[in-house]
Amino acid sequence: MIPQEEHSMNKEEPKEDSVEKSSELTRRDFLRSAAVVGGGVAVAVGAVTVAKLSSPPKTPTGPETIRTISEMKTVSITEQSDILLRMQDELRAALAKPVEQRKWLMVIDTRKCVGCHACTIACVVENKLPPGVVYRPVVQEEFGKYPNVQLRFFPRPCMHCDNPTCVSVCPVHATWKRPDGIVIVNYERCIGCRYCLSACPYGARTSDYGLYYTENTPEIQPYERLSNNEYGKSWDRKGHSSPKGNARKCHFCLHRLNEGQLPMCVTTCIGRANYFGDANDPYSIVSQMAELPNQIKLLEEKGTKPTVIYLI
């Protein structure tokens, strides 16, 4: 690497006395070092404190977020109506309030869930999810011993936690909790570091690795290239554009909610096992279901305060 015989040959020979003087740490060294290190630590602590105390990226709030959805004129809603119709009507009422006055909540009745996976597939179709990306798998739990075996199903959307661990780890403010409780991802900001994937104990975030179901066939089918409408925008995944390379997750079909439609998984459920609505409305079905005593939350011990409740 370096000719060793030439190694470190100083042209100038040091004088011994000056070396000795310059080899001692002085009071000035200590003071300057303390000032520099102290200043550095103070700046670092300040930056972290400000970041921890600062509010999430701005989501529009106030009267301009009120959405007027017309009433269903051809059907009358009564106590006996299908819960989908009733929840649809409650949704209309919730959207008539500013966003900060709504609080979306999902209750899943595991006793009604038959494990058909229709919600999983409906979600895949609605959001045009590529291979390896899933927002709502149905986890199957088997308990008991033959011949007394039971199955229970836990559809697992994003828990939209009130204390979301995925949000605080994001290095670029690309994910945050909206005033209505939905945790969203800004695809244009996300750098694809996948820290949020690691931080979510529910495994509710998946990364888009740019795959297609019909690749390695003569042609990638046009339906796989259609844009999806997540967050009310058009995402076509062309080239390496977002959401390829991004973290993706359930957003309670925010694009549908804004148009007065229930999340796709709720609409599709054949057993009517999903309840969805505004928790701030004490008379909504979801609020009533959320008060039942036979409820659990997944991994509650993690302290994430999930807003998806399971009835068992």
Partner: protein, 385 residues
């Protein structure tokens, strides 16, 4: 003989670089499609390399600073070599993590739009400031009356070194905190993890300096003298601490009737990658220790330090991967099948070859830096390094 060795090393490096370069280009063209990690184990070999190189950067600087302040033989004269080593390791570490990003061309966002509440953004900024500190020290180190002096003419070299020393201890530990703050992964969520990361940074930093010094120092230097003896003691002591801490953690798991992290530890010891722990980590470390204790030539010390620098990557991977490989939600993997939705992880050929490229990149960067360094110092202050 020596020329032959240099030629052989060059050939090995060139092969590694070219083969790795092909894999690297394939990675750039195909994105993450050729990688083996997925959504449940989202961080793989390249993230391990990132932690490893960042550790080398911090450890090398910290030891260099101690040697510089305490005036251990060879440190003040060669401080710029150590600074270069640290800077090249930082650059290589950042290169590794850049490769791992899903949207790599948005990397600058972490600098201009950071969330300092995230350990990742905080660390990214620390690396940048640390890099600037290295540049400042490098500049001031050439502004001394004698190369063996502690101070430069302005008097700011020592304070800057002090700040750099604090950073060099902080960010390798923060690499451990980076994982430690993830409550979702019980195996990471231990105060021991930042300490283990700091210990491995010191070990690898010392080993990297030792490896470089075996090339830089004249062949007739005794390996029992300074700075070699100090570097050997640091590596041996660091390894002893690391293994004691590792033993403490693992033994607790097996004593406890109901440990939350038992599955992760069992994966390390008896899982499909058992050989990474037993052969690379333990076996490699024992071989290196024997050579460090008994070795009496540069060849032995160089080989031992090379084994430590490369082999201790296994220590990073044995924290990183098993922590992710255990699901908190039982049955999730079976709920929706896809190879990117699995809790097991094996690096693909592309990942291995890109890792080889990253290693070759680091060596090439340092070698070019040494060439440039000798030109700059010869011109500016009349010394070779």
């Amino acid at each position: 003989m020596k020329e032959n060795n240099a030629k052989n090393l060059y050939v090995v490096w060139a092969i590694a670089f070219v083969v790795g370069l092909i894999a690297f280009v394939m990675k750039l063209v195909t994105g993450e499609r050729l990688a083996g990690y997925g959504s449940y184990v989202p961080w793989g070999l390249w993230v391990g390399l990132y932690f490893h190189f960042i550790g080398i950067a911090g450890g090398a600087f910290a030891i260099g600073a101690i040697g510089y302040f305490l005036n251990f033989k060879g440190f003040r004269e060669h401080i710029r070599v150590i600074l270069l080593l640290s800077a090249c390791s930082i650059v290589t570490g950042l290169f590794s993590i850049w490769l791992d990003l899903g949207q790599p061309f948005r990397f600058a966002r972490i600098l201009y739009s950071p969330n300092f509440g995230s350990m990742m953004a905080f660390n990214a900024w620390m690396y940048m400031v640390f890099f600037a500190i290295i540049a400042g020290i490098f500049y001031l180190s050439m502004n001394k009356i004698h190369q063996n002096d502690l101070h430069d003419k302005s008097g700011w070299l020592v304070p800057l070194f002090a700040l750099g020393f604090v950073f060099s201890i902080a960010f390798p530990s923060q690499s451990g905190s980076f994982l430690g703050v993830v409550d979702a992964k019980p195996f990471w969520s231990s105060p021991l993890v930042p300490l283990l990361f700091l210990a491995s940074a010191i070990i690898c930093g010392a080993a990297a300096i030792l490896l470089v010094f075996t090339f830089v120092f004249p062949a007739q230097t005794s390996v029992r003298e300074q700075p070699f003896s100090m570097l050997r003691y640091i590596i041996i002591g660091g390894m002893a601490f690391y293994f004691v801490a590792e033993f403490a953690e693992f033994s607790l798991v097996f004593w406890s009737p109901n440990s939350e992290i038992r599955t992760s530890v069992e994966l390390i010891l008896f899982g499909p990658f058992w050989w990474v722990f037993w052969l690379v980590h333990i076996g490699g470390s024992i071989a290196a220790l024997i050579m460090l204790i008994r070795g009496s030539s540069f060849k032995f010390l160089g080989t031992a330090s090379f084994i430590v620098v490369v082999g201790f990557l296994s220590a990073r991977l044995n924290v990183l991967i098993p922590g992710q490989a255990v699901s908190q939600l039982k049955g999730l993997q079976e709920a929706f099948y896809h190879f990117r939705l699995r809790y097991d992880y094996s690096p693909t050929l592309n990942e291995y070859l890109v890792a080889v490229f990253i290693g070759a990149f680091a060596v090439g960067l340092f070698y070019s830096g040494m060439k440039m360094l000798s030109k700059i110092t010869t011109k500016r202050i009349g010394t070779l390094l």
